[in-house]
């Protein structure tokens, strides 16, 4: 079974040949792979090298934590990859940014107004949580719209507070 696995924009062609053989970009490895207990922990012995990792799903990707590094991997078989490629052109460029609360908290200040033009990195909103004030910034240039909260509001995690178009 052939997969295309993407980590940080780099694509790896991973071919799972049988239970003990995997090839990566054409290079063959002898492997022994198994889960450990009922935890998201996996042990991989690959050409004699022993690797232990935590692998768990997060939205559309797999999170791989090993030797203290966390990787975010997108695993697709060839059909899924074609499907995504055909959809990609339609939504990518004009995607609006929706500022969602990264954690529950209270809105301390909103230094921008509805309809205001802003630049990347500008502070959109200050949210207080865990006794700290956090400045939430815009990831791109644009215009502030759909301001849904006001100063003093309590917001839940992932609640959309405003949009940048």
């Amino acid at each position: 079974m052939k997969y295309v696995t993407t980590i940080k924009d780099h694509e790896y062609i991973v071919d799972i040949i049988d239970e003990h053989h995997v090839s990566v970009d054409g290079v063959m490895y002898e492997i022994d792979f198994m889960p450990v207990g009922d935890q998201p922990v996996y042990s991989l012995v690959m050409n004699g090298t022993s690797v232990e990792a935590h692998v768990y799903p997060n939205e559309d990707t797999w999170q791989v934590l090993f030797r203290g590094d966390l990787f975010s991997a997108c695993v697709e078989d060839e059909r899924e990859k074609r499907l995504r490629a055909s959809l990609a052109g339609r939504v990518a460029d004009n995607a609006d940014f929706h500022l969602k609360a990264p954690m529950p908290g209270m809105v301390i200040s909103i230094p921008v107004n509805e309809g205001q033009a802003i630049t990347k990195g500008e502070v959109l909103l200050v949210l207080e949580s865990m006794k700290m004030q956090n400045e939430l910034r815009s990831p791109r240039d644009g215009k502030v719209t759909r301001l849904r909260v006001k100063v003093g509001d309590r917001v839940e995690q992932k609640e959309t507070m405003l949009s940048v178009v």
């Binding site: 696995t5 790896y12 991973v14 203290g68 695993v75 990264p102 865990m130 006794k131 956090n134």
Partner: protein, 504 residues
């Protein structure tokens, strides 16, 4: 003399204090908010009583309820930990009036050191040098602060009078910015401490934050346990502490000199119990008194690791009226200790706090490793309290060994479900400037970037790719087996039409 102690705190420090009580054979009483019913401190204590809803002001700050619970449960003493009620003179006074021993200093010492303007005036009279600022001038209005600022000079800091831990603190670079920043500092101070008063302090550039742990009994014996280096900070929040300080290093004369000044500062307020004197030290080893923390510090374990003294047990002994078991000449630092504060925050996203459930955690163990924590698998990191998950402390024979051991321990430490700042500490351990001890209080904010530190690092993404693929493949196969066993749950015609629509 008491034999039951109420711990008026939560999280790792409550667990830490319960452990000390257990070793001394004392019974323990925990208190908890609705968010902490399942917390470790509740489960470890002999008795536990509910305080109220999750927000601190309805639970851990309810001095009246806590004293009431102490009385009803028959506790003879209250240990306040750090934060919450630890530095509230009125609480210490209320304990005393109720006949409860407060495991900490006298209310008068807390009051004298708690109002930093008074604190500076007091130690200044005792001949301890202080940083220029609005010392001893009480609570000034904005226009008064703006008038005096140019005389102190820029850059300067606006700090909360009742503050600590970087809250209600702002850095000001010019007079024009000051009104806005004053406003922000007052608002944050009001929210954190219920007191919006602020003062100004000159910013000592290139400064190191070095603090001295002291112990004082009620019989006029005051000793110091050497220094802790706390210059690794972000927005005035300490992230890593070590003892001894690489800056003080082999300079035993300097160590004894700064230690003696700390003892003098403590004596100036007739201090009893454990406390910490914080100093700013410039590159010429010129040092200024910053503040005194009249409580147990978050970073007390590094001193415990090098001196072998259990500071919490000493606190309890002192509160029971015993005299110190140690004299100054008995105190020797052995080896090196480093503590990393493990916070639930995302180091790749401006250190934004992260809340959620800890789905999996694996603690580092092995030689020279200590973890102080209050969390476990299934624990919910809530937005109500601070973001400290745990403190990872290592000891090594030398600083080099301690750094290598910390690297190893950070690699072993796994926390899933929330973001943690473990990657930040790992990159810090790899930093040449950290290894060389070449850092000041601005290092993290101005000369260290986690993204830059990760460039060109040998991290084997191809192995991660194989692992992710194997796990995904395994999941697909398991799902396929389930479907085969039960046959398809919809008609073949529906499957066909879905398949067709996928191919369009």
């Amino acid at each position: 003399m008491f034999n039951k102690v109420l711990i008026a705190n939560r999280g790792e420090i409550a667990v830490r204090i319960i452990r000390a009580c257990r070793e001394l054979g004392l019974l323990t009483v925990a208190v908890y908010s609705d968010a902490d019913r399942q917390a470790l401190h509740v489960r470890y204590a002999d008795e536990a009583y509910r305080l109220g809803p999750a927000p601190s002001r309805d639970s851990y700050l309810r001095a009246d309820k806590i004293i009431d619970i102490a009385r009803k449960s028959g506790a003879g003493a209250i240990h306040p930990g750090y934060g919450f009620l630890a530095e509230r003179a009125d609480f210490a006074e209320a304990c005393r009036e109720t006949g409860l021993a407060f495991i900490g200093p006298n209310p008068s010492s807390i009051a004298a050191m708690g109002d930093k303007a008074v604190a500076r005036a007091t130690v200044s009279r005792a001949g301890v040098e202080i940083v220029p600022g609005t010392e001893g001038e009480g609570s000034l209005r904005d226009d008064e602060l703006l008038a005096v600022a140019p005389a102190i000079g820029f850059p300067l800091l606006v700090k909360a009078t009742a503050g600590g831990g970087g809250k209600g603190m702002r850095e000001v670079n010019c007079l024009e910015d000051m009104p806005t920043l004053l406003n922000a500092a007052r608002r944050e101070a009001e929210a954190s401490f219920g007191d919006g008063n602020v003062y100004l302090e000159k910013l000592v550039e290139g400064a190191r934050h070095i603090e001295i742990q002291i112990l004082a009994d009620g019989q006029d014996n005051v000793i110091h346990l050497g220094e802790r280096e706390c210059s690794i900070q972000r927005r005035h929040q300490k992230l890593l502490e070590e003892s001894p300080s690489p800056f003080v290093g082999e300079d035993e004369d300097f160590r004894q000199q700064i230690g003696a000044v700390a003892v003098r500062a403590a004596q100036s307020v007739s201090y009893v119990n454990a406390g910490t004197i914080e100093f700013l030290v410039d590159k010429d080893k010129h040092f200024y008194f910053l503040e005194m923390n009249t409580r147990l510090q978050v970073e007390h374990p590094v001193t415990e690791m090098v001196t072998g003294i259990d500071i919490v047990k000493e606190q309890i002994r002192i509160a029971r009226g015993r005299c110190l078991r140690y004299k100054q000449e008995d105190i020797h630092a052995n080896g090196w200790a480093i503590e990393c504060r493990i916070n639930s925050e995302d180091p790749y996203n401006n250190f934004i706090p992260s809340t959620g459930r800890i789905t999996h955690t694996l603690l580092p163990t092995g030689p020279g490793v200590r973890v102080d924590t209050g969390v476990y698998i299934g624990f919910e990191i809530s937005p109500y309290y601070d973001s400290l998950i745990s403190k990872l402390i290592v000891w090594g024979d030398t600083r080099g060994e301690a750094i290598l051991r910390m690297r190893r321990a950070l690699e072993e430490y796994k926390i899933l479900g929330v973001h943690s700042n473990i990657p930040f500490h790992q990159r810090l351990m790899d930093s040449h400037r950290f290894m060389g001890g070449q850092y000041d209080t601005r290092f993290v904010e101005e000369r260290f970037s986690i993204e830059e530190a990760e460039e060109g690092k040998d991290s084997h993404p191809e192995i991660a790719a194989i692992l992710a693929t194997l796990v995904a493949h395994r999941q697909t196969e398991l799902a396929a087996h389930v479907i085969q066993r039960n046959e398809r749950d919809t008609s073949n015609w529906k499957w066909l039409s879905r398949w067709e629509s996928l191919r369009k």
